[in-house]
Amino acid sequence: MSKDRKEYWRKNLRIMAWLLAIWAFVSYGLGIILVNPLNHIHLGGFPLGFWFAQQGSIYVFVLLILIYCKLMRKLDREYDVDE
């Protein structure tokens, strides 16, 4: 594997790791582990932890995939490996 390819793969892994960290933090962190402290804060009629668990996390998931597509598109072009 050429050096460029290795670097491309490393950057790909870095993007993945960051996005998955956010993924885990929002769902397991905000939606489950931290749900009780967050529930003391209210967002309209929603306790915040409850909102993250039943609504917010899903919105974040959609955003994460969108960001992933954008970043990877850029990376593919930068390393000239796009289709």
Binding site: Y28, G45, F61, I65
Partner: protein, 597 residues
Amino acid sequence: MGILGWTYVFVGVTFALYIYIAWRSRVSDTKGFYVAGMGVPPVANGMATAADWMSAASFISMAGLISFLGYPGAYYLMGWTGGYVLLALLLAPYLRKFGKYTVPDFVGDRYYSNAARLVAAACTVFVSYTYVCGQMRGVGVVFSRFLEVDINTGVIIGMCIVFIYAALGGMKGITWTQVCQYCVLITAYLIPAIAISMKITGVPIPQIGFGSTIAAGHPDAGKYLLDTLNIIAKDLGFVQYTATFATVNTNMLNVLCITFALMVGTAGLPHVIIRFYTVPGVRQARASAGWALLFIAILYTTAPAVAAFARYNMVNTLNDKPYIERPQWYTNWQKPGLVAWVDKNGDGIIQYRPGAAFVGRPNFKMADGKRVLGKYGQPLLNNKITTNKNELYVDRDIMVLASPEIGGLSAWVVGLVAAGGLAAALSTAAGLLLAVSSSISHDFYYRIINPQATEKQRVLVARIFIGLAIVLAGYFGIYPPAFVAQVVAFAFGLAASSIFPVILLGIFYKKTTREGAICGMVAGILFTGIYIIQTKFMGVGNWFLGITPEGIGTIGMIINLVITLVVSSFTKEPPPEIQELVESVRIPRGSGEATDH
């Protein structure tokens, strides 16, 4: 026109449409049959994936489940959506680059072994099968209530419809039918949700409505809906609606395991994975995962709102009301035995309290082919009555289907919801049955038994196996192992412990060997399968750290990963051409080539 008339109209029109689409997109070659010719645009694939994946459980059962569970319903919501992030980031682009027809195809080629292919094919069949039974049951529930036929007859009608378009159009037919089914099911889900949200809170967006205050003219007007649900729950002795595990005795590790198993399971479901083979390239595979999740999110963020509204409506229309003044919807749903009432204290008033009113599903007393009625005109039951104060039995599955009636919406909305429920169940059933039949006909028959088979033979075998698969699925639909959502939860555990880890390592760890992958898969599925059978059917306690069968897939996955890595470390490393194959799937360029074989 009444509810029954409208239901026949909507169900008839949508069914005709599906069959028309299937006829228009019928195929005669394997590439069309298995991967829709690899020409599906990302948005369409997103819709098809959403319909493929949102099943009878998502449409019919999920809001009902959340409605009864309250906060813990979030595990399902997050689990079934979070998996798409894993799918988009870890699997879809690479599998599309690899570019074959099925999941066992990847496993067999990557692990240079027909044994691995066979194990993966067996896993695929097993997982898809566990899942398909729930769909058939869902079809039966919809038919029995809306078209007033017996549940078992409903299952059989559903089998016939799926057979027609799955056998005719293969993946191509299924894809375009699913695009259409997505539109039907999302419309059917949103219209009543918006109407009920308007009615109860005056806010037209359900996602915002269920965090708003109750509109004038309803009980507890002016208070926040969720606060009101908490108060109602407390008054009746239920756990509060937004209460978390701190107030209930819950095992945190188990909660995390359930959510994780659902996420990884979603990413490992073969019928979802194969959808990403149908797009033209890697970029489109990534994009269609995003579209899919967006389309799914529209329903999944509405479901918890529907759940909250349904609970509010149900308690207000039934609890502490005299049975003789029961609403029409109650009578409608009593016919198929999905609601029932036992007058424990003989006061003629329905008391809804925690616990089961009686043991098992309602078993009505019959005489001369008619139900025996009690003092207040209620059908009497043979079931063993429990000692708690609850007198009401409500099947969770009716919460969505009955919500337009409970909310007092027009008859045509009820008919539309019936069509939507059927769209959800049928689209998923078709996708699953295709995954089952392609594993058998492509991976087992063509790749292992008869590699000389002609195109014509291969397509014929695929069609025959779809037919057989449907008959078996119908059998399990008639004799279901547990209620719809629970059956589906098992499929996730099994997908999480077998398919996901083996693909993940196949892409991200070049030195994973054939021996490692086979041992890992077998260990993962054996552990998970045995645990579920023990705890679910043999009455053994949750012996592993108190983890319930729904969450055990997480442990199965870890066992699979560890065993695969350990075995790989002391077996001969994969041949150079396999390592090159792994290098090549990591690079998007060139996905258009090498798609046929």
